[in-house]
């Protein structure tokens, strides 16, 4: 299979390990969420570009340079330089980062920050007064006890709102139901989406009832974006990993493994007869250490193995990794016949977590129509 197919699709010419992005699957994934959210034309969509970190992907995701979400100021700066003008930096802002955010706003890229505590709110207010530049701010709301945020009914919500509103920095609320990653059924996912929606709306209404502005009500995660049934009161939805999907999303039931657009091309370098396992040149450096499926019913190890064309190979997974070695085993433990995978043959590995695997690489090797068509750079750091 492998040599002929990789010659046909152009992958034979790549050095391994290499990050492969199937543009057709990416575009289908983009269309799928866009179509789903078309049910609510009054709600804006603000895709998260932390998974992609690529101008080429951003151009497909948002050809019109619409609203985006980012996880670092580096992302904000790179995408702002590329013409994006409406950015939410969706990690609680550290006071030391406010000058960089203000510079983005001053340069015409409206960049909002989020925060969930009085100290950070005071820092935004003080910075606004001292620097004369108001950084537009959303209050992060915790709707599922997952990570950061103020609970919608916590009295501190209004105190934060007041501190921000005095300098004109308050623009609304934002929540992320990261707990939805633990859901397993459509009804559970819909329940998470409703918790996210109702919590964010409740927080916004409390602010408004206190005479404070909250024009923005921002919610979202890939699972809740797909399974939401009601967006009443919401002004925008965010999602990121839906572009590529991954095994964690497949395990939750948000996608099938066939929809996963990202994989790592690897070469067989040996065989361990005692273990019945094959060895490839993609270790955790190429795959990441992410073991997100370890808590799911179907543990995919460090990734699910396909042939070089992306076709399934049964139950083969990457069972263990070192820095530059991956061990491939069958999930059943049955020895792999080494004749199936001679040294030098090529395989592809679907990632547990697209964000983490992509972050290990500086470029995407792009397949279109099943053949290698382009190389898209990606960036990292902060």
């Amino acid at each position: 299979m492998t040599r002929r197919d990789t010659v046909a699709n152009g992958l034979a010419g790549l050095e391994t390990p290499a990050l492969v992005l199937d543009r057709d699957k990416l575009q289908a994934n983009l269309a799928r969420l866009r179509d789903h959210l078309a049910t609510w034309p009054e709600v804006a969509f603000r895709p998260h570009l932390k998974t992609a970190k690529s101008l080429d992907v951003a151009d497909l995701v948002s050809p019109g340079r619409g609203p985006i979400t980012v996880s670092t100021l580096k992302e904000a700066e790179v995408f702002a330089a590329h013409g994006f003008r409406d950015i939410v930096y969706a990690v609680g802002v550290a006071p030391d980062k406010l000058p960089r955010v203000a510079a983005l706003n001053a340069a015409g890229a409206r960049t909002r920050v989020i925060l969930d505590n009085l100290q950070a709110a005071a820092a935004v207010a003080d910075f606004g007064r001292e620097a004369g530049r108001i950084v537009p701010t959303l209050i992060e709301v915790d709707t599922d006890g997952h990570r950061g945020g103020v609970r919608p009914h916590d009295p501190v919500l209004l105190r934060i709102g007041e501190v921000l509103a005095v300098v004109g920095a308050l623009e609304g609320v934002l929540t992320h139901a990261g707990g939805s990653y633990g859901a397993r059924t459509p009804d559970e996912l819909a329940a998470f989406a409703e918790t996210e929606r109702s919590g964010a709306v409740a927080a916004a209404e409390r602010l408004r009832a206190a005479g404070l502005p909250s024009p923005v009500v921002s919610v979202g995660s890939t699972p809740t974006a797909f399974f939401t049934r009601d967006l009443t009161g919401v002004t925008e939805v965010r999602a990121g990993v839906y572009m590529f999907f991954d095994l964690v999303m497949a395990g939750i039931g948000v996608c099938s493994t066939e929809e996963i657009a990202l994989s790592v091309l690897a070469t067989v370098i040996g065989y361990q007869p005692a273990a019945g396992q094959i060895v490839v040149d993609a270790g955790w450096m190429a795959l990441s250490r992410d073991r997100g499926t370890s808590s799911q019913p179907l543990d995919q190890g460090y990734g699910l193995v396909t042939d070089a064309d992306g076709a399934p190979l049964g139950d083969l997974i990457v069972s263990a990794t070192n820095q530059e070695h991956g061990l491939i085993a069958s999930r059943s433990g049955a020895p792999i016949d080494p004749a199936r995978f001679p040294v030098g043959s090529r395989l592809r590995i679907l990632p547990n977590h697209a964000c983490a695997t992509a972050a290990q690489h500086d470029r995407y090797h792009v397949l279109a129509g099943g053949a290698l068509a382009a190389e898209w750079p990606r960036f990292g750091q902060w």
Copy 2:
């Protein structure tokens, strides 16, 4: 503590997250292993640069541009361009990579590959015949069932040796007792070192008894390099993570946490009152997803927390991560007093696995004498 100290040591001026390297600790670690191996002056030392991936670190590790080990051809090429002339690429070679290795050798950087199977040996021999360039090769020997390699007494060892020797490519054997990472006591570690030594020597002697050359007998891992008591028959020792050390090595007993030269500087961005946890801006993107201490008696989460000066803070660990968020909890579960860590204050996080954490960053911020002294670039990819 934090603001005053970070101003004093220069760390206050860094954007976070940032990778910090303590040059004094690095140099002490280098001296410690050098002194230990001085017991065997006839044995060469071949440090592994896969952890550092830095020319500046390489200059400290081997000012005389001595033998080195690498995990990628990118490392080989970068270090060869910097003057290193004796390289072992210690990952089983994929046939497609032989032209790059041959180019290094042709350019004067003697670069050996390793392999553990007949197909790869045939590829080296065929490449030598067809391209007219012999790639010097070591046979990888499996002394502990850890990963790759031929068992010392496997009949295939001699067949591989013959295939390589016919074209003049055979130069010896190499083993890596990665299983030593599971050891816990000095005696267990010494036993792993002896298994590594005796297995490699046995393989070399079998080759020689069959009339095949094996001038090189290469062994090593950081734990076995420190705990070896006998190197009879060994010609060179390799070790890599000893430069920086990390929590996994501390858990094995190879170092103390005070000797760990690498840390990630982070900023407090919030507090979760319900969980009694603080939130910092270093998530898995900055720390890596490595959970190497999860199988050790003392699980350090995603890293052990110190103050900005590197002083211990009791039992604080990074208990959970998202892409750009780290949650800091006390190991006991006792709530953290948020007054100790106001928003904006700085902390440092010692890594589970130096190789994985360093790989998430493109530079080291170097402390010397406790103060910020330099910025050293690091590289990645393949």
